[in-house]
């Protein structure tokens, strides 16, 4: 394990940015989001979760797929090239790392249909995960077996008092470690971080949503039809205004749309995030197959808590990051859905 004083952290960032673009949680407009580091940036490592997840660095909100150019009667197609720029992300929390593991299933699981854009970024992006020491009231990562104090990633880091501790977890992490070693000191043993890990786990166990995992047993691939036909969906979905907030802030929501943009000189085909909550989601000639907000709302949660685990060996596609809890305009969210359909009253 290596360590560095927080007062020297700028030197660590400098070393890391020599490897490729370095993304960090940076403050802007009263929010934090992953943005490229430059000296003097307002780096925010205290706030538990960034307002937007790390998803966008690997699966951007919009991304060009191909360009069409017309010359006379000839149309040429120029495909976008796969991303190959190396980069590193520092300060990813355990729940967001799990988010990427969920996206890996969708985009990389089937060798015959890999998403080459996503693959390019995953292969070139190093993750330096930061353990949490004080979870927010909206956090419930523990329900999905995510350990806030022991994040996976290429490197795991802990901040205890005024020191950052660093431990490589993968080969890529080892390579990064070599790059930063000159500015760091050796730390023997892990006792320095053990107490802080315990405190973090205790804090999560005392958070308001700690008991959520008990309601999760009602979910999963068990009884799809019963869950689908639950009479509770009507009341749960009543307040939903059908915005895309929960989907867009979610580290695992992966649906996208493909659209053409007329540039005036040709056409750019791009993909962009889509939301099952939107009225024009999967629109086809006959309209949206899910005609009511109830059906759209149900889809989001059935996908995360039933269809996904059904397809991928029981893995839920929620990480308990809590973003949809704090961002939904009407405070309707997956925690309430899990409990209500799982037979528990909230509050």
């Amino acid at each position: 394990m290596l360590k560095i004083l927080m007062s020297d952290i700028g030197r660590l960032f400098e070393r890391l940015s020599s490897v490729g673009t370095l993304y960090l949680p940076i403050e802007g407009g009263g929010q934090t989001a992953f943005a490229p580091w430059r000296a003097g940036a307002d780096v925010q490592l205290d706030r538990v979760n960034t307002d937007l997840s790390v998803k966008g660095l690997f699966f951007p909100q919009t991304e060009d797929i191909a360009f069409f150019k017309r010359e006379g009667k000839k149309i040429s197609v120029l495909p976008s090239s796969d991303p190959d720029e190396p980069f590193a992300v520092f300060g990813v929390r355990a729940c967001d790392v799990r988010g990427l593991e969920v996206l890996d299933k969708v985009f990389l699981d089937d060798p015959a249909h890999m998403d080459t854009f996503y693959k390019g970024r995953r292969e070139n992006g190093a993750l330096i995960a930061l353990a949490c020491s004080s979870p927010a009231e909206t956090c419930f990562c523990g329900a999905f077996g995510v350990d806030l104090a022991e994040p996976s990633g290429d490197v795991a880091a802990w901040i205890v008092d005024n020191t950052l501790y660093w431990e490589a977890k993968t080969q890529r992490g080892e390579r990064l470690t070599e790059a930063v070693r000159p500015v760091m000191a050796e730390q023997s043993g892990t006792s320095a971080v053990d107490a802080s890990k315990k405190a973090a786990r205790d804090a999560l166990a005392a958070a308001p949503l700690a008991s959520l995992k008990d309601s999760l047993s009602a979910w999963g691939a068990n009884d799809m039809l019963t869950l689908f036909s639950s009479p509770l969906w009507a009341n749960l979905s009543m307040s939903c205004v059908g915005c895309g907030t929960c989907t867009y802030v979610c580290p695992t929501c992966q649906c996208y749309d493909v659209q053409d943009f007329d540039t005036g000189h040709g056409v750019t085909r791009f993909r962009c995030w889509d939301s099952c909550m939107y009225s024009d989601f999967t629109l086809m000639a006959s309209g949206n197959p899910r005609k009511t907000q109830l059906e759209r709302f149900r889809q989001r949660f059935m996908h995360k808590l039933v269809y996904f685990p059904e397809k991928y060996g029981g893995m839920f596609s929620c990480t308990g990051c809590g973003r949809c809890l704090s961002k939904c305009p009407v405070s309707m969210n997956i925690a309430k859905v899990i409990k209500a359909v799982g037979g528990v009253e909230n509050g």
Partner: protein, 300 residues
């Protein structure tokens, strides 16, 4: 507030038991502060879950568009309205989005709403006042503003004092954070078109992402223009924006200009007045030009 909540439960229970209303639009408690959800209560027993306190933020009037249309043997729906929401209710009535006869509107006293960070919301700092409009009755009486009020138009004046390029930079900076989640539009009681132009795939503009910077600006410019003269300044758009974009500044610029050009106007306050921007009189000012005959000097 506890007392107000009890009175609300009592009233809602009476109305449900007597069968005068088929349901009550209120808020249901959650797991922590800032976790209350709008809900339709249909039985007196369920009312123990009703919540109302200084964290009860979402407004209920927009739900009336759907609720007041449900057949339910012609029965009314009861709704709780905070003072600022009564303007939204008025607006929806004046545009015939909600039928007055189908609603039993109860004003509820407000003492300001706090955010998750336990600070008073901007919209409350700039509160328009605690009076109720268009209500059948009021619970808890008219509240009092006990805090130092923010000048509603100070932010607009700050932007007006900028040079055009500073102003452009300011808005580019703010709007570049927009993720096009449409939360601002979807909570807005004025944005109640049956189908928004941005949801029309044939319109050629995207509703779910910004194809480029121009579209990012355009969404907000079109929305601001479409709610001009109709926006009640309820502050919901800024409250819900997950990217913390100060959308109220756009709306308040229009409100300030409408006030200056046509005289003080508060959308949703009265059901009789035609809105300055939807009515015409020969004496209407020409905001873009001071005196066309003299070559059209620009003002405002």
């Amino acid at each position: 507030m506890q007392n107000v909540r009890e009175l609300m439960i009592k009233k809602a229970g009476e109305m449900l038991s007597s069968g005068e209303v088929y349901g009550v639009l209120a808020w249901e408690r959650g797991d922590f502060a800032c976790d209350q959800t709008p809900a339709l209560f249909t039985s007196p027993e369920s009312l123990s879950r009703l919540a109302y306190d200084e964290f009860t933020a979402p407004m209920l009037s927009k739900y009336l568009i759907n609720e007041a249309k449900k057949p339910n043997e012609g029965k009314k729906v009861m709704v709780f309205l905070k003072p600022c929401d009564t303007y939204n209710f008025g607006h929806l009535l004046s545009e015939h989005k909600v039928e007055r006869d189908r609603v039993y509107a109860v004003g509820v006293a407000c003492s300001g709403i706090f955010s998750r960070e336990k600070t008073l919301l901007e919209k409350c700092l700039a509160c328009k006042g605690m009076e109720f409009h268009h209500c059948d009755e009021v619970i808890g009486g008219e509240g009092k503003i006990t805090w130092d009020k923010l000048d509603r138009f100070a932010g607009v004046e700050m932007i007006e004092s900028m040079t055009p390029s500073e102003r452009f930079e300011f808005w580019r900076g703010e709007l570049s954070r927009c993720i096009r989640c449409n939360a601002c539009r979807n909570v807005c009681p004025v944005c109640s078109c049956v189908k928004c132009v941005f949801d029309n795939p044939g319109s050629g503009v995207m509703s779910k992402s910004n194809a480029d910077e121009f579209e990012e600006n355009m969404f907000h410019i079109i929305r601001a223009f479409h709610v001009a003269g109709r926006c009640t300044d309820c502050g919901e758009c800024s409250r819900v924006c997950p990217r913390n974009i100060p959308l109220h500044l756009l709306n308040r610029k229009f409100i300030k200009d409408v006030n200056a050009l046509f005289g003080p106007y508060q959308a949703g306050a009265s059901l009789d007045d035609a809105s300055p921007l939807t009515s015409y009189s020969v004496n209407d000012p020409e905001p873009g030009y001071k005196d066309k005959a003299k070559g059209g000097e620009r003002v405002a």
